[in-house]
Symmetry: C2
Subunit: 122 residues, 2 copies
C-alpha cells in the first residue's frame, strides 16, 4: 500500500478515509482480515496509537469488528456496507454541489468537463 498523508488533516482521519475508500471500492472485502495496528503503523511509518484511534472509530461505526486478542475484520453486514457507500456518494455530491453553487455554470456545461477528468483517470 502506498499512501501519502497531507500535513494539515489529522493522520487518523486520513487513515480512516483511506480504508473506507478501499472498502467502498471492494479492494477490502467483507469479512477480510485487517492488518494489525502495529503492522499498518509500520507500513505507514506512523505511531501504532494513531492506527488504533482510526480502528476504534471504524469499530464504533461498525465497519470493522474485533474479538478479544484477535485481528480485526471487515464487517459482513450488508446494511453497514450499503450505508457506507451511500454516505460516500452523498457526501461527494453534496460537497461538489456546494462548491459549484457560487459559480455561474450549468450542469450541461459541467458534464463534458467532468467526462474529460474522468477519462484522464483511466
Amino acid at each position: 500500500m502506498s499512501v501519502s498523508f497531507n500535513k494539515r488533516d489529522p493522520i487518523y482521519l486520513q487513515v480512516i478515509q483511506h480504508l473506507k475508500r478501499l472498502i467502498v471500492s471492494g479492494k477490502l472485502r467483507p469479512g477480510e482480515e485487517m492488518p494489525s495496528r502495529r503492522q499498518l503503523a509500520n507500513d505507514f511509518k506512523i505511531n501504532p496509537n494513531t492506527v488504533q484511534r482510526a480502528y476504534s472509530e471504524m469499530e464504533e461505526q461498525r465497519l470493522i469488528y474485533t474479538e478479544p486478542n484477535r485481528p480485526s475484520h471487515i464487517t459482513e453486514d450488508p446494511a453497514v456496507l450499503n450505508q457506507l457507500k451511500n454516505e460516500w456518494l452523498n457526501k461527494a455530491m453534496a460537497t461538489f454541489v456546494s462548491a459549484i453553487e457560487p459559480l455561474d455554470i450549468s450542469l450541461d456545461e459541467l458534464v463534458p468537463l467532468l467526462e474529460e477528468k474522468l477519462q484522464k483517470r483511466k
Copy 2:
C-alpha cells in the same frame, strides 16, 4: 453576513474560503472595499489577528490589495480573478472525480442525481 465556522479547520482558512466564495459568486465585486480587520472580527466574533492572518494570505495571493493606512480592496486584475475561478472549479471537479472513482458508477447514472441535488438548492 452569517457564517458558521466548524471547529476542526483553522478559522483563518475558513475566513479565506468564505471570502473567496463571495468573490467567485460576484457578491464581492472587483475594486470593492473590504470590511476592516477590526470590523470583520467583530462581525464574526473572532480575534482581529485571525482576520489579519486571513487578509495577509489573500494579499499574498493578490486577491486583495492594500494601500498604506487605507482599507483593503478586492483586486481588479482579471487574470487573478479568472485564476481564482478556474482553480475553484478545477479543485471542485478534481475532488469530486477522486471521490467518485472508487465507486462503480458511471457519469450517466450520476447526472440525474446531481440534477436533483442542484434543484434542491434553489
